[in-house]
Symmetry: C2
Subunit: 333 residues, 2 copies
DNA sequence: TTGTATGCGTTATCAT
DNA sequence: ATGATAACGCATACAA
């Protein structure tokens, strides 16, 4: 009779099957054993409903088949989508995912890295904002959207090309003057290249442009002031607006409408990320779409790739454009 | 000198501090030891940047401080919110969360339960759809939105009251006839009580009502047919619409607008869940709000509560109403 | 109060 | 090919 209240172990299986412990281990790990032995062991496993204890396994192998994902939250739909696809990609590789929501808190980010630092997880994928995050060299780490040194691969979409693409689209749709709006982190990160791409695009097309950039702690109403300043005779001085995220675009559209301006008639708006309502509903605005799924798979590939030498320092994945109702697409027909 | 390429262990710490292994263990677990010993051990821990190996710990204690969350995905914003709050609640209790996205797949749900069945996780919180899910009695399990037998606690919002509340609101706002729309799972689950609450509310207020319920695999266009059937002289026969989720409401509003009907002028719409754009933006519609955070915390409380005897079979948490632009709130003023 | 020895479940090395 | 045994890192009962 088995110890009550406790899961069966290999020993129990060996006993049940009448074979040695080592034989059971071999069967489980696919190492060839005599046919009759194998069958007896397999029967016993089924009979006892035995499952290997992955913690004992991990202890032995210092390999846990678990990866940690550091991300601010899952409420933001872009993050939520990322979590989903990374989880799926890990699952395909037989990996499990420890979710670590950091709430943009540098302390929590470091805390989680520490937790993972030893052999508790096999690797970490992190979308973090802590500029001083200490990551050990000996644990695989892949960063999303922020370069953390050449020994840590960074995966992002092609933010620069995305900025250019937004300008191209707006120009093609008839815009003559475009404004760029951004809020947030002074931290040096890949998404900042959206601005560079925007400027580059405007210069290339000979478009006039203006920019308004807010700090994280400034109120959104400053954008309203910005709009007001650029208002003459009830018309905006620019007819195109590129917002650094869909969320910002969404908020700006609300303000614009409140001011009596029409989107896209008076001003066309393009956002960034490709977020959709309810995950698979409509886009909130015309937008530059990040290839979230590809980003997720690339992260996992890089994380689990053994050969450090072939890990690139920065991978940029191509973006696409999607119409979301805030641009004058009809003009193209 | 330490073994290279491997994390320090208690043994290393003991060596460094010049004390016995057991002493280190005691320091770490807060068991009183001599002051001078403690200090030496703590110094050594800092010096070596030692962290306990939670897998060895788990193996020893058959307690892993890890809980699994089974959920279809994180793309759906309601699920995303749930994930976030459950993660946060677990964290508060020093627990880690293994995220298991099941994609509504019964096989995956069972698979994950099996993985967790032994002592790999200390408990499971599940929002699942597999009617035959086999859950062992000896592993703590808490179900969300679906009752799985009296030995498994179920946490949900007060769906019945929510259905009633929707009717009350619509009636108060002037509706004379209300339609109820639902899509999905024939599976017996708590959210089905929204319909019961709706009917009960209509009866109590003496309102006429109609209902249209679709299977998961039926096209949404059937709702459009439903609307058309109830159209006479370009006006709908009902002036209130209660949709079983915000997502459905969102989709219905699109259809209604396409048909030239105005919301809320021609028909007022109330959804269910309390989902907001971008996690903390506007509500998509006027809605019955689920107390997601309370649900999350209740799940974790129940999961980690040792005393099985006091675990209630079903916990219903109160809902609230929120205005989201699809009802004629002005009428109240 | 401190140190030693044993076992948790698994895998791998070694004789058989 | 199979079976016994040591070792992974930690906690604890027990001995000093």
């Amino acid at each position: 009779m088995r110890k009550k209240n406790s899961a069966p172990t290999m020993k129990d299986v060996a006993l049940e099957a009448g074979v040695a412990l080592g034989t059971v281990s071999k069967v489980i790990n696919g190492i060839p054993v005599g046919e009759s032995y194998r069958l007896r062991v397999e029967d016993a496993i089924r009979k006892l409903d035995y499952h290997v204890n992955s913690y004992a396994q991990g202890l032995k192998a210092s390999r846990t088949y678990t990866a940690a994902l550091l991300i601010p939250n899952t409420s933001n739909p872009f993050f939520a989508e990322l979590v989903y696809h990374i989880n799926t990609a890990l699952l395909k590789r037989k990996y499990r995912m420890l979710l670590c929501t950091t709430d943009y808190d540098s302390r929590m980010e470091q805390e989680y890295v520490n937790i993972a630092k030893q052999n508790k997880v096999d690797g970490i994928i992190g979308l973090t904002y802590n500029p001083n995050l200490q990551v050990e060299e000996n644990i695989p780490f892949v960063s999303i959207d922020r370069s953390m040194g050449s020994h840590i691969p960074c995966v992002a979409c092609d933010n620069f090309a995305g900025g250019q693409m937004a300008v191209e689209k707006l120009a093609d749709l008839g815009c003559r003057s475009i404004a760029f709006l951004r809020v947030g982190s002074s931290l040096d990160s890949e998404p900042n290249k959206r601005k560079a791409g925007f400027e580059n695009g405007c210069l290339a097309r000979g478009l006039s442009f203006s920019e308004k950039i807010l700090d994280d702690d400034e109120p959104l109403s400053k954008f309203e002031h910005f709009f007001q300043e650029h208002l003459s005779d009830g018309r905006l001085e620019f007819d195109g607006l590129f917002c650094v995220t869909d969320f910002l675009a969404y908020q700006m559209i609300k303000i614009l409408k409140k001011m009596g301006l029409r989107v896209p008639e008076d001003v066309q708006v393009i956002g960034f990320d490709g977020v959709r309502a309810f995950g698979d509903g409509d886009y909130f605005c015309s937008t530059i779409v990040q290839p979230v799924r590809d980003i997720a798979e690339m992260c996992v590939d890089l994380l689990l790739q053994e050969n450090m030498a072939t890990k690139p320092p920065l991978v940029c994945l191509p973006v696409t454009y999607a119409y979301g109702g805030t641009t004058k697409e009809e003009a193209e027909l």
